[in-house]
């Protein structure tokens, strides 16, 4: 069920990292996708750069175009130890130290030959598709890419959910933009008309995979949890948040993943971690905020070594709050795409995010919740301390807080983060034990 491939750490030392079979399948899928991208120009297929939150992958697929997701390239570069150099390249060309490091990593990668995570060159975009505006940085990011590539841009303005509700007017506003602006622009670039029936087929496959994904997420209600809903979770969301949603590949991946998780439940087993399976779970945590990618396995080990499993996380919901009821609806193609874009986790106001975290803490019977705050990612980090306080008050569950970064290796301080995490877990332990022993 598992394999143990070798990877090379930044130091050059061989490290054995345990991986699930589904992870290996995903790796093959990603490899195939980048191969397809490398052949795109010769095969006459158009390439669309777009972002994860609110991505319209079914629309891109239905028009037979290929998606490139710059954040995913950046995080892959981070995991492969290349982001530091790319960020340096971007800073040389004038980007400030405080700019989102995904942006700098992407710009630096472009300036270094645009070689993707699998070692294959990524083709330039035929279209920049901005389908989510909840992150202001996205707008600026594509402005920069526009200067680099001089290609058309399609922009979908997505209203923020200040009250945690999508009103009919908001939905109509987005549907109108899709129908009148975005789809015509995409058709123009694709050189073909959109077939709504084909789009519906893509959306139907999305919903099928989404059902399995939700089942996997909710499997963490078991004790021991058969999954890690944060570190393992970023692998689970890989296909559905990126270029694969709506494909047969994604449907098969999630079916296999579900079987894998079912086997672990049957055997009363925990998830794989970089150092093996985590069966002895001392702490069940909910995590808020994106992970650090440059020290991803180290960060994961800090939790796993202390017996901490993450049962749910908000980062794994940035590409869709499927467990809150949303499914892509083949019967209402444009309406469902609007709902999807409006429902991004980071498009929610703070009260809705607190509500959601509270729900996760209670539903997943968590001992604690932990925030990894990334200063350069305003979409996530603004208001996190306030959220922490409110959640503590509402749930009585203590929160922990650390700061790191997405892909800038300079901002991950291993000993400091480990110190805080261990302190936090010991605090949970003391709380669970109901205080200290009687001391004179």
């Amino acid at each position: 069920m598992t394999a143990t491939p070798s990877t090379k750490a930044a130091t050059g030392a061989e490290i054995k990292v345990h991986k699930d079979r589904s992870q290996l399948r995903q790796k093959r899928m990603i490899g195939d996708h980048f191969d397809a991208l490398s052949r795109a120009k010769e095969e006459g297929r158009k390439v669309v750069y777009t972002f994860v939150p609110g991505n319209l992958c079914e629309l891109i697929g239905a028009l037979d175009m290929l998606a490139v997701l710059p954040e995913i390239n950046a995080l892959q570069s981070g995991m492969r130890g290349r982001s530091g150099g790319y960020i340096g390249e971007a800073e040389k060309s004038g980007h400030s130290e405080d700019v989102c490091t995904y942006v700098k990593c992407d710009i630096g990668m472009k300036k270094s030959g645009n070689v993707g995570p699998t070692g294959v060159e990524i083709p330039p975009p035929d279209l920049l598709l901005l389908s989510y505006t909840g992150c202001f940085t996205f707008l600026k990011w594509f402005e920069l890419l526009k200067q680099e590539y001089d290609c058309p841009i399609a922009m979908l303005h997505v209203p923020y959910q200040p009250d945690g509700k999508v009103t009919p007017a908001m939905r109509e506003y987005v549907v109108n933009q899709l129908r009148d602006k975005v789809i015509p622009k995409m058709e123009e670039v694709a050189g073909k008309k959109l077939d709504l029936d084909v789009l519906s087929e893509w959306l139907g496959r999305s919903a099928e995979a989404e059902d399995d994904l939700v089942w996997v997420w909710e499997s963490a209600r078991h004790t021991p949890s058969p999954i890690d809903g944060y570190f393992g979770g970023v692998y689970y969301i890989g296909p559905i948040f990126t270029s694969f949603r709506g494909t047969e590949d994604a449907v098969n991946y999630y079916r296999e993943l579900r079987e894998e998780v079912q086997q672990r439940i049957d055997a009363n087993q925990g998830p794989q971690t970089p150092d093996g399976r985590l069966d002895d779970q001392k702490f069940r945590l909910v995590v808020e905020g994106p992970p650090n990618w440059t020290s991803f396995n180290d960060f994961w080990r800090m939790f796993a070594n202390e017996g901490a499993v993450v049962v749910s996380s908000t980062y794994t919901r940035v590409g869709g709050l499927y467990d809150q009821g949303f499914r892509h609806d083949p019967g209402d193609p444009l309406g469902t795409l609007a709902d999807y874009c409006l429902g991004c986790y980071t498009n929610l106001g703070l009260p809705s995010r607190v509500d959601l975290l509270e729900k996760y803490i209670k539903d997943y019977n968590a001992d604690g919740f932990f925030i990894n705050s990334v200063k350069s990612c305003n979409s996530f980090s603004a208001g996190q301390l306030l959220m922490l306080r409110q959640l503590e008050e509402r749930t009585g569950v203590p929160g922990g807080f650390v700061e790191s970064d997405l892909v800038d290796p300079r901002y991950f301080s291993k000993s400091n983060i480990e110190n805080r995490l261990q302190s936090y877990l010991q605090m949970l332990q003391a709380k669970k034990a109901g205080g200290f022993g009687a001391v004179a």
Binding site: L385, R389, E392, P398, G399, F401, V402, E403, Y411, S413, S415, N416, E418, N419, R420, Q422, S423, Y424, Q426, M427, A430, K431, G435, F436, G437, A438, V439, A440
Partner: protein, 468 residues
């Protein structure tokens, strides 16, 4: 006596606390953290064991009714000072031995003839002047050997250089190198022998013969009593680097919170400012931590900030607070970066602003950072306990009090204890006591740093022994 050891390995100092089985503090020790954490722990532990033996000695003396007992009680401070003097002299022997070894190394070989005699004279002079340093009224900046010997060596070296004997920098470089060797080995500390020697110094002459005879018996009894270390817990910045079993390592957050709560039972919020960490901790009525925040990314606003400023002004760390208290106004200084604050300090002084006023501003800058961290941790609740090395600084506490009054109201009780620096070690020891009571104490089989074997001249005369 059975004791439980708690050690707090900080970035600046290492502290140890000994508890007895009833949870009473029976000894405490402190030393400077050095490049070898094992040795720092061993020395702090030895200091605590020594303190425990002094407590036992005090109790034994108290049982001795009569004029001899009274005489000993009247001179107990001198006895302790003489004991410190004996320790200092032993360490001078080790220092001398390391200097001699260094002179045979390539770096110094060419200057050996020139340096050897001068260095020897310096050490002999230091030994000769040591009694005045410990038994007189001299004002020492620190109790750590590095600082006392460093100051004495520098003064002697300055004189030797002024006499044209040898270059000052070369001598000081020799000391700087040798002190590292001294600090990375543990010296044996035979309590009975050292205290006997101290007793002879504290009660000189034939007129004290009877006192000495009584003291010898008491010392023999105290030295013979076994101090059985039955449990151990380590905490602090360097805890991960030590060969402690994982179960014997506790987070400093929990230890500081618990230690502060033990000393001040009403504590709900703790501020600990150490060398490179500032911790804002909330605890419940049992002393269990419920929330905490620590400085991330940067140690500006911690103890080293003040240490850097003290270095910039060539002052002792303990002199900063009293000087700042003399300020007439508080100059605004940044708290974002220690190095920038140093630059700002120089600029302000160059502009003619008063040193005291700038120092007041620097103190305010670090306390403002602490207030921000406290706010992030959930604010200040009554009672509020301030711990860590910086709480010994009177200006820091004065500014903190003002900021607490302004932001949280004057009814908040601010607790500061003279032994606040030991709170982490105390918390660790309390966890050790829990372990004992739960029947799973942790011991330290691997806790054995190298011990320097040095032959000591029993006459206590000149410092000419050699290392074996």
């Amino acid at each position: 006596m059975k004791v439980i050891v708690g050690i707090d390995l900080g970035s600046t100092t290492t502290k140890a606390i000994l508890l007895d089985e009833q949870g009473r503090i029976v000894g405490r020790g402190i030393t400077n953290s050095r490049s070898n954490y094992h040795v720092a722990c061993a020395v702090a532990r030895e200091e605590a064991l020594t303190a425990a033996r002094f407590s036992m000695l005090q109790r034994a003396i108290d049982r001795h009714i009569g004029p001899v007992g009274d005489a000993i009680r009247d001179h107990s401070d001198q006895l302790m000072a003489a004991f410190r003097l004996e320790l200092y002299r032993r360490e001078l022997v080790v220092l001398n031995a390391h200097i001699l070894q260094l002179l045979d190394r390539v770096l110094y070989r060419a200057h050996k003839a020139e340096l050897e005699g001068v260095a020897q004279t310096i050490i002999d002079n230091m030994a000769e002047k040591a009694p005045a340093l410990f038994l007189g009224n001299a004002n020492r900046r620190s109790d750590f050997f590095r600082d006392i010997a460093g100051a004495a060596f520098a003064a002697e070296a300055e004189q030797a250089a002024a006499d044209g004997l040898v270059h000052f920098d070369r001598l000081v470089g020799l000391f700087d190198r040798a002190i590292l060797d001294v600090e990375t080995t543990v010296q044996e500390r035979p309590f009975g022998a050292l205290l006997e020697a101290a007793a002879v110094r504290a009660f000189p002459g034939v007129e004290h013969a009877q006192t000495i005879a009584v003291l010898r018996d008491i010392i023999a009894d105290v030295a013979a009593e076994e101090l059985d270390e039955i449990a151990f817990v380590g905490t602090g910045y360097g805890r991960q680097t030590l060969p402690f079993p994982k179960a014997a390592v506790r987070s400093e957050i929990l230890c500081h919170g618990r230690g502060a709560h033990r000393v001040f039972n009403g504590t709900r919020t703790v501020l600990d400012i150490g060398g490179q960490d500032t911790k804002a901790i909330q605890v419940d009525e049992n002393g269990v931590v419920t929330s905490f925040q620590m400085n991330d990314r940067c140690a500006a606003g911690c103890g080293r900030y003040l240490g850097y400023i003290a270095d910039e002004l060539s002052l002792g760390l303990h002199e900063l607070g009293p000087l700042a208290l003399q300020a007439e106004k508080v100059i605004r200084v940044n708290s974002t970066c220690t190095v920038f604050a140093g630059a700002e300090l120089r600029e302000r002084l160059a502009l003619g602003q008063k040193r005291e006023d700038v120092l007041a501003g620097l103190h305010r800058a670090i306390m403002l950072r602490a207030m921000s961290l406290l706010a992030r941790s959930g604010g200040i609740r009554d009672e509020f306990t301030f711990t860590g090395g910086v709480c010994k600084n009177p200006m820091a506490t004065k500014i903190l009090r003002g900021l607490v009054d302004d932001n949280y109201g004057t009814e908040i009780t601010l607790n500061i204890h003279p032994d606040s620096i030991y709170m982490g070690a105390l918390g660790a020891a309390l966890f050790g006591l829990d372990d004992v009571r739960a029947g799973r104490p942790n011991l330290l089989p691997a806790f054995a740093p190298p011990v320097t074997n040095v032959k000591f001249d029993p006459c206590g005369g000149c410092i000419t022994e050699t290392m074996v």
